[in-house]
């Protein structure tokens, strides 16, 4: 009876699996592309299955209240590190695995060969992402952030050229400073409350004295700076467009996911610590998040109109999506948050597809052969990668055009795809939240207006880009695409369509997620009440 049930170990596997796969891939010779790819893709498929199982377990009543807790090294909760799975975590794990799988297949024919150790870094990035979603301990969150960032530093520089090294230097410097902020915030929180366990912190926050409350709010603000730098809130997000535009396409698609980690961390901390049970600190900082999110949205919209090339435009698109999400978190209400999460799903998928697509459309122009040559020299790689021109698929231009249009529809929130459903339900929830006096606050109207303006800016910018790529380039030769490059884009776009068709099911799930998140006391009961496994005394020792 005292043994941990087998299924319980599934909670820690999304961290262990990529770690092992990544480590195993290091000694494999660089020229054995197919072996490396096979290992990497197997690990990612397993991750996807794991995420799906965890989602089914969290939603299917395997654990009480849909919250699964795993005590690392069998230490009871506030003292050791607890990993936590609830519906939100499971959803983010599934989203990560889905995008990772698409990106990995996309990079199979070309991108994993332009530099060294692509798959190892990719697996470590997945480990960091999964860990950051799973952990319930602030310092452990820092460690996973660093794992994720260290892998992303390598990936941003993947396919080493002048642009990447310039952008990479700034990206790394910004993130190192943000990590210091993270540490200062964590230290202050510990000094004020004496705990680093997020759930425990939420339970203690109302009991703190006046002075400690003051210290805690400073600590959380400094911590928030670190998260918001990752999530690219204005004015902390100037690093983002340049980095996105210069990173290679598969890496940029993963970076889209990384901004969502910042937003996710903000959501977790704010809901756990400053929920309704927080006493004097209840509702702390939510308005600032709304206003910051709106400023971000505005900045993103202007940037999108101003940018010329696809990569930069996608970067600003990610900023718009971050801004919308932050403003939604600032609203702190149930149905608003559910729509926000739906928006997160759709926009992340579409944005990742768009990042991959931008690279494909650039092949309509002569391919950048110079770019690969530098890498080859720098790393003295003997075998040349296969040229992307190989067996083409028919109707490339039609495929590219249709995918582009679908992505543009989702990103800008036009009907009939999921972006529209997300925005519509968002407006509906925003206007319904404050019905008491029949008056909606001005800030909410401002937010709605900005979301519409952001969508308008996005559709103008994307239309201009589309016209330039597909119609105004004169006599264009259809680029030849590999099947393995077209399939992931198609799959991501198809998922956006599925998200629209199955909007009811998804919203039911998200409603349950948000309802669960609001129960702060349930979380502390589950996490702090999770018993460590008792070891029965072994017979040999008894004598």
């Amino acid at each position: 009876m005292n043994d941990l049930p087998f299924l319980q170990h599934f909670i820690v596997l999304p961290v262990l699996l990529p770690l092992l796969a990544g480590a195993l891939l290091i000694p494999v010779k660089q020229s054995r592309y197919s072996l490396k790819f096979a290992c990497s893709v197997t690990s990612t498929i397993l991750l996807w299955v794991l995420a799906a199982v965890l989602l089914a377990m969290a939603d299917g009543g395997y654990w009480p209240d849909g919250i699964g807790v795993y005590l690392a090294s069998n230490w009871a909760a506030p003292f050791g590190i607890a990993l936590l799975v609830d519906r939100l975590t499971a959803l983010m794990l599934l989203l990560t695995a889905t995008i990772a799988l698409a990106v990995l297949v996309f990079s199979a024919r070309r991108w994993d060969r332009v530099g060294i150790q692509f798959h190892t870094l990719f697996q470590f990035l997945l480990m960091g992402l999964n860990g950051a979603f799973l952990t319930n301990d602030l310092f452990n969150l820092f460690v996973f952030f660093e794992v994720m960032l260290a892998a992303s530093y390598g990936l941003v520089l993947h396919g080493y050229n002048l642009h990447r090294i310039r952008a990479g230097m700034q990206y790394i410097a910004i993130n190192l400073v943000a990590s210091f902020m993270f540490l200062i915030g964590v230290a202050l929180i510990y000094a004020a409350s004496g705990t680093l366990n997020l759930t425990d912190l939420g339970a203690r926050v109302a009991l703190l004295g006046n002075e400690d409350t003051w210290l805690l709010s400073i600590g959380v603000c400094v911590l928030g700076l670190a998260f918001l730098t990752k999530g690219a809130m204005w004015p902390l997000g100037f690093w983002l467009p340049g980095t996105y535009a210069s990173a290679s396409a598969p890496v940029a698609a993963m970076l889209v996911l990384m901004t969502k980690v910042g937003v996710y961390a903000v959501l977790r901390v704010w809901l756990a610590v400053f929920g309704n049970d927080a006493g004097a600190l209840a509702g702390f900082g939510f308005t600032a998040l709304t206003i910051g999110g709106m400023a971000t949205l505005f900045f993103g919209a202007i940037g999108m109109l101003a940018s010329q090339d696809g990569g930069r435009m996608a970067g600003y698109g990610a900023i718009i999506s971050s801004g919308t999400l932050l403003a939604v978190i600032g609203q702190a209400g149930g149905p608003v948050l559910a729509s926000g999460l739906y928006y997160l799903l759709g926009s992340t998928l579409a944005m990742a597809a768009f990042m991959l697509l931008v690279e494909l459309t650039e092949r309509i122009r002569p391919p950048g052969a110079a770019l690969i040559a530098i890498t080859m020299e720098a790393f003295a790689i003997e075998d040349k990668p296969e040229d992307p021109v190989g067996q083409g698929i028919p109707g490339t231009l039609a495929f590219l055009g249709l995918s582009f249009a679908a992505c543009a529809l989702v990103i800008s929130g036009m009907p009939p795809l999921s972006g529209f459903v997300a925005k519509f339900s968002l407006f509906h929830a925003l206007l319904e939240v404050s019905p008491t006096e029949g008056k909606v606050p001005g800030l909410t109207w401002g937010f709605i207006a900005l979301v519409i303006v952001g969508g308008l800016a996005a559709i103008i910018a994307l239309m201009r880009l589309g016209v330039r790529i597909f119609w105004a380039s004169g006599d264009i030769a259809p680029p030849r695409l590999q099947f393995s490059e077209a399939a992931p884009v198609t799959a991501l776009v198809a998922l956006c369509v599925m998200l629209t068709l199955q909007a009811g099911t998804v919203f039911d799930y998200l409603d349950r997620t948000v309802a669960g998140l609001a129960q702060v006391t349930t979380y502390s009961e589950r996490v702090l009440g999770e018993p460590p496994v008792m070891r029965s005394p072994q017979r040999g020792l008894e004598r």
């Binding site: 310092f139 530093y153 002048l162 090294i165 790394i172 230290a187 510990y190």
Partner: protein, 113 residues
């Protein structure tokens, strides 16, 4: 002691901020190092400052007032290791940038006069 530690952290962090705003990569990395020292001491101080109190004990009877908080000491060790690794990584990229661009400016090119 509190005053000395606070001043040390403040001066180091302040110098670090000034240095990371400078245009050369060497100044940037020096600034990052200073900031990381300041942050490490800051974390250490968050376990409250005390003299002559061990963080661990083997005796089962424990009076917490007689012991220093071991957790920030554990945290600071982890933070030092991670900071060290990321700084080393940044140094490599700095050298790469210097070699590729021929300039030690953070933008990868000399500013126009």
């Amino acid at each position: 002691m509190e005053i000395v530690i606070a001043l040390a952290v403040g001066v180091m962090f302040g110098s670090g901020i000034w240095l990371i705003l400078r245009p050369r990569t060497f100044q940037l990395i020096t600034g990052l190092l200073l900031m990381s020292y300041a942050v490490n001491i800051f974390i250490f101080a968050m376990g409250r400052l005390s003299v002559d109190r061990p963080p661990i004990t083997l005796s089962p009877a424990i009076d917490p007032a007689q012991f220093a908080d071991p957790l920030p000491q554990g945290l600071v060790l982890t933070a030092i290791v991670i900071g060290f690794a990321t700084t080393a990584l940044y140094l490599v990229i700095m050298i790469g940038a210097r070699g590729l661009t021929g300039s030690d400016h953070v933008d990868g090119k000399e500013p126009r006069e």
